[in-house]
């Protein structure tokens, strides 16, 4: 089984697992606290005590990055789950009910997708308090539009298959059809898409935090850490690059895994949705 996984996917799997383990066990692994000022100076170079040096106010950069990874992954995961539940349920509803329900939902999704999510998110964030819950809600709902389109397309195909017709003729209700007939058959293309949505969430929350409109300090998160340490770059201090490269590595490794899963499921199904 393992030998049939391509090398790129194996590397992706390894790093994805590593990042998730670091995130889950952050308090056990990180040598210092995320908010613990460990030295009087700032931006100290790497040393035996501080493998990546210290940050802009003298906190251990490595510890903060491990905690930052935890925050970023945690928020991205919750937002992905929200986006999938909302998008999939609404997409299935639109496909099964059809008619004006489908029209109303689909046209609204077209409208939301007609402008970039970042711009819409910024507009909303100008009046809402910037808290973790609000961020997850905004990211989840804005992204659910993409899941909606996929879920609807897949469900429309399944909805006209014989076994669904049979269920309808037996007199099963629409909710039964959605959860017992369509959901199990639509699951594999949706799950394959999940990795890509997760990456998008990681990049989204990192960008918002980088702009100062995401996770607020002193909580550590990768995008916010780039922002905190970015000033050092013009003086030749590379502290901001470590969290920046971590974001890229996380995204690339999940991408490699997602690509592999996607190619496997599409070859099984002979094309996606």
């Amino acid at each position: 089984m393992l030998t049939r996984i391509p090398l790129a996917a194996l590397i992706g799997l390894f790093f994805t697992a590593l990042f998730f383990l670091l995130a889950i066990f952050a308090p056990l692994i990180a040598p210092y606290g995320y908010d613990e000022v460990v030295s009087p100076g700032f931006w100290e170079p790497a040393s035996a005590e501080h493998l990546f040096g210290t940050d802009n106010i003298g906190r251990d950069l490595l510890s903060r990055m491990i905690y930052g990874l935890r925050t970023t992954i945690w928020i991205a995961t919750l937002a992905t789950i929200l986006s999938f539940t909302t998008g999939a349920v609404l997409g299935f509803l639109a496909a099964v009910f059809g008619g004006w329900v489908d029209q109303a939902l689909s046209r609204f999704v077209d409208l939301v997708m007609s402008i970039p999510s970042l711009i819409l998110a910024l507009v909303i964030l100008s009046v809402t308090p910037v808290t973790v819950l609000v961020l997850i809600l905004i990211m989840g709902f804005l992204d659910s539009t993409r899941v909606y389109r996929l879920a609807r397309a897949v469900a429309v195909d399944i909805n006209v298959m014989d076994f669904v017709e049979a269920a309808k003729l037996r007199g099963e209700g629409r909710i039964w059809v959605i959860f017992r007939e369509i959901l199990p058959n639509a699951l594999s293309p949706l799950v394959a898409e999940m990795g890509l949505r997760f990456i998008f969430m990681v990049l989204f929350i990192s960008t918002l935090s980088f702009l100062g409109l995401g996770i607020q300090p002193p909580t550590a998160d990768l995008g916010g850490m780039v922002r905190e340490n970015s000033e050092g770059l013009t003086y030749g201090i590379g502290a901001a690059l470590y969290p920046a490269i971590t974001i890229a590595l996380l995204a690339i490794s999940v991408n490699l895994v997602a690509d592999w899963v996607l190619s496997r499921t599409t070859s099984l199904k002979g094309g996606r949705g």
């Binding site: 409208l111 970039p116 819409l120 100008s126 809402t128 995008g223 780039v226 013009t234 890229a248």
Partner: protein, 319 residues
């Protein structure tokens, strides 16, 4: 009216309708929270006088529908209102910054578009061989990087360590000579190019491959036409519309890239203006910037549609 003209009229009026609906969406976006906007903007510690002033300035005492139409009327007559934080006209600030942003985006587009099409063609020509694989691997890497990560990496290594180019755009003067302006935006342009290039190239490659694998190309080859004739007579007319579509869609993507890149390099453009005023909770400025970004985005998408209608050979010869 010919079918092409009818289609065009249809698309353009749809685009205008979409823009109108988006203006409602943006307006509603600043009202997502129930309750007092003034309180949310000023925070719990605000004095009652300050709250009353802000409420009057925002016009929250009027019903929302009236406020929306007042705002829309202002937009249509070219009056974007005044900024809450500075009390100055938004038109003036945006006029200056929009031209800076367009300057940045123009140079990014000028470099990206030919490069992307060339690399896309190269990837198709050497499909599944090392140039194609190298290009795919590079694009996978840049697609997975947010703009600011790429920006800081280039700033640090090219701007600070090597010192080849100015690391930030703070030296940018809109009235300076072209060469000095180009020098200060060199790194931001490079970042935007890399970010958009990846998407554009991947999609160009897919679009051209899609045409090259279709049945009429195979027929043309089987007829014994030379490769050049096949490309000139059959592939090119059909590939041009998807390629232009790809280019336009990705230029629209620049809209988002520009916001982040301007913050990274401290460039005085629209993106910086928007983000600054989101932080300051200056709702009128945010709405104005939001609708302008949305209009540019929708405009580029609309242009993509229009161009693909005009260049579609099937539509030129109605049955």
């Amino acid at each position: 009216m010919g079918p092409v003209a009818r289609l065009l009229a249809q698309r353009i009026s749809l685009g205008l309708l979409l823009l109108f609906l988006v203006s409602i969406l943006i307006f509603l976006g600043t009202m997502v929270l129930p309750g007092d906007v003034a309180q949310q903007i000023l925070g719990q510690s605000a004095t009652p006088e300050a709250l009353a002033n802000l409420r009057a300035e925002l016009g929250v005492n009027d019903p929302p529908v009236a406020r929306y139409f007042e705002w829309l009327g202002g937009l249509l007559t070219g009056d974007l209102g005044t900024a809450l934080t500075s009390g100055q006209s938004i038109n003036e600030a945006i006029g200056r910054r929009l031209s800076n942003t367009l300057f940045l985006a123009f140079w990014a587009a000028l470099i990206t578009v030919p490069l992307a099409i060339f690399l896309g063609l190269l990837a198709v020509r050497y499909q599944e061989r090392w140039p194609d694989k190298l290009i795919s691997a590079t694009t996978l890497t840049t697609i997975s990087m947010p703009e600011f990560v790429l920006g800081y990496i280039l700033m640090f290594f090219v701007g600070v360590r090597l010192g080849w180019l100015p690391p930030t755009a703070v030296g940018f003067r809109p009235d300076g000579d072209l060469l000095s302006r180009l020098e200060s935006i060199a790194l931001p342009v490079m970042v935007l190019t890399l970010v958009v290039l990846a998407h554009m190239m991947r999609m160009t490659r897919a679009a051209i491959l899609n045409v090259m694998q279709s049945a009429y190309i195979e027929t043309a080859e089987l007829k014994g036409l030379t490769t050049f004739t096949v490309i000139r007579r059959h592939a090119f007319p059909n590939a041009i519309s998807p390629v232009i579509n790809v280019v336009m869609l990705n230029l629209a993507y620049l809209v988002v890239g520009v916001v982040v890149v301007e913050i990274v390099f401290n460039y005085p453009g629209m993106g910086q203006y928007l983000v600054d005023h989101v932080t300051k909770r200056d709702v009128p400025v945010v709405q104005a910037c939001g609708i302008i970004f949305a209009a540019i985005y929708i405009g580029l998408n609309l242009t993509a549609d229009v161009v693909s209608i005009l260049t579609n050979p099937r539509l030129r010869h109605p049955k």
